[in-house]
Amino acid sequence: MYTVQEVIRLVSTKKKSAQEIAAEYLERIGQKNTDLNAYVEVYSDVLEQAKKVDERLAQGEKLPLAGVCIGIKDNILRKGFHASAGSNILKPYVATYSSTVVEHLEKLGAIFLGRCNMDEFAMGSSTENSAHGPTKNPHDLSRIPGGSSGGSAAALAADLATVTLGSDTGGSVRQPASFCGLVGLLPTYGTVSRYGLIAMGSSLDQIGPFGVSVEDVETMFKAIAHHDPLDSTSVPISRRIIQGTQNKKVGVPFSFIEREGIDAEVLENFKESIDALKKKGYEIVPIDLPLAHYALAVYYIVMFAEASTNLARFDGVRYGLSVPGGTPNETYINSRGQGFGKEVQRRIMLGNYVLSHGYYDAFYKKAVSLRAAIIQDFQKAFQDVEFIAMPTSPIPAFALGEKTQDPLTMYLADIFTVPVNIAQIPGISVPSGKTKTGLPLGMQFLATQFNEAGLFAIGKDFENHG
């Protein structure tokens, strides 16, 4: 398994060409992907891309990511190739432009291997909700890899890419990273361009990298964290100012963590992780996040509302699946009815519900007000501590089919990841060990806006604790 630094070293010292590295990944994908279903498409031009990288190097071009092979989530556009967001409604769609992240990485010499499976429109925590079928966890094929970026996590964990990209709306990078034994980052909202990312909850979505080490994730983050005039929520570099202390203090919201039905092994592992941090010179401070418990309810209301609004664009008229009816309205209903899966339809209807006259005040308006209060909760906590630590997920990877019948139990698995998106702060999940049966667990660190550098520092200290 290569790290990003190893690939860069091999290619820059001419020990291996980009084409040789890419060919190795293609061979492994050929051997393993049928069982895992991590990739829904391997791009037809991988070796061509690699050849171009080798040619650019031969011409003396400096390529900081030369030969690094990347899998991208199926909701990130690459011009001329399919992007379906795991949905039947977009199965025929071919991207007419490339996302900003893809353009940045291409310039730096990266190679795109293919698109990775995901829950439809990123709605799910298990990658079972996909029009391309479920993805399996490489650590145990009877279990899910997490979600919604489960394909990206499974591909990397099975050594089918050097690094991968996912998107995180409520934990969709951090939770699969923890279930697959990887590092996963949710960057501060607005640091990575969303241009060319198929939208779910626009005030929550952010593209984030998966890596086998904190260093790899850091390298990828630096490669994609630019201001983009094409994304109006992209934060200009001059405004990316860290407001908070840098004092190596770690706040732990013990009462929140212990309240939420956490698995005993996860809790034990978390306590061991806290001890490891102390040995690394971090001071542990119990903190109170009194409203954190409500973040999940707030998250679902806001996300339903934003998702139903975003998905209104799919009409069966301009692109994607079209199932014609006798009138324009019938065409919409047929195309959306057959194109969207059950969970997507559920969230569209719930979004319409919470935004409806008569319910808007009690649900959407109240959720937005509570979101403001939760943000203040975090700001208050960060006056004294540089970091907050929590388990990434209250449970380890669950069995395929275990939570598909009851959507609410699936939602509850996101309890520790969603508050971070609600507050628009960064979070990183770092492997923290395994359960007795060998399932990976993850430790999550949070920081104030734009303090990714702090997260990489604590992540590296934690990663090397023994």
Binding site: P92, Y93, V94, T96, Y97, S203, P229, T233, L291, Y294, A297, Y300, I301, A312, D315, G316, V317, R318, Y319, G320, L321, S322, P324, G325, T327, P328, N329, E330, T331, Y332, I333, N334, R336, G337, Q338, F340, K342, Q345, R346, I348, M349, L350, G351, N352, Y353, A362, F363, K366, A367, V368, S369, L370, A372, A373, I375, D406, P407, L408, Y411, Q424
Partner: protein, 91 residues
């Protein structure tokens, strides 16, 4: 909070999707438990906030950039005639 099958049908119409008679009871059950869960926020007393400053107006100069997407975009259209998107008669 209990939703009826008729509520589901109404929400489906608003969302331009189709819910079959067979699926409606399951949606009604799911929605009842989800809405009951998220309703817990109503027990918290927080000041009403209109704008949480998550968004601001972002403006840029209106400069023409010459780009030709016509063929790419039309290539995606399910039903067309020449350079026009074809839809069923509206009136």
């Amino acid at each position: 909070m209990k939703l009826q099958e008729s509520d589901i049908k109404e929400l489906a119409i608003m969302g331009r999707i189709h819910v079959s008679d067979a699926d409606a009871p399951k949606y009604a059950d799911d929605f009842s438990s989800i809405l009951t869960y998220v309703s817990e926020i109503q027990s918290v007393d927080v000041p009403f906030v209109q704008d949480i400053s998550l968004v601001s107006n972002v403006l840029r100069d209106d400069v023409v950039v010459e780009q030709d997407f016509t063929a790419d975009f039309l290539g995606q259209v399910p039903d067309k005639e020449g350079e026009y998107v074809k839809v069923k008669q509206i009136l």
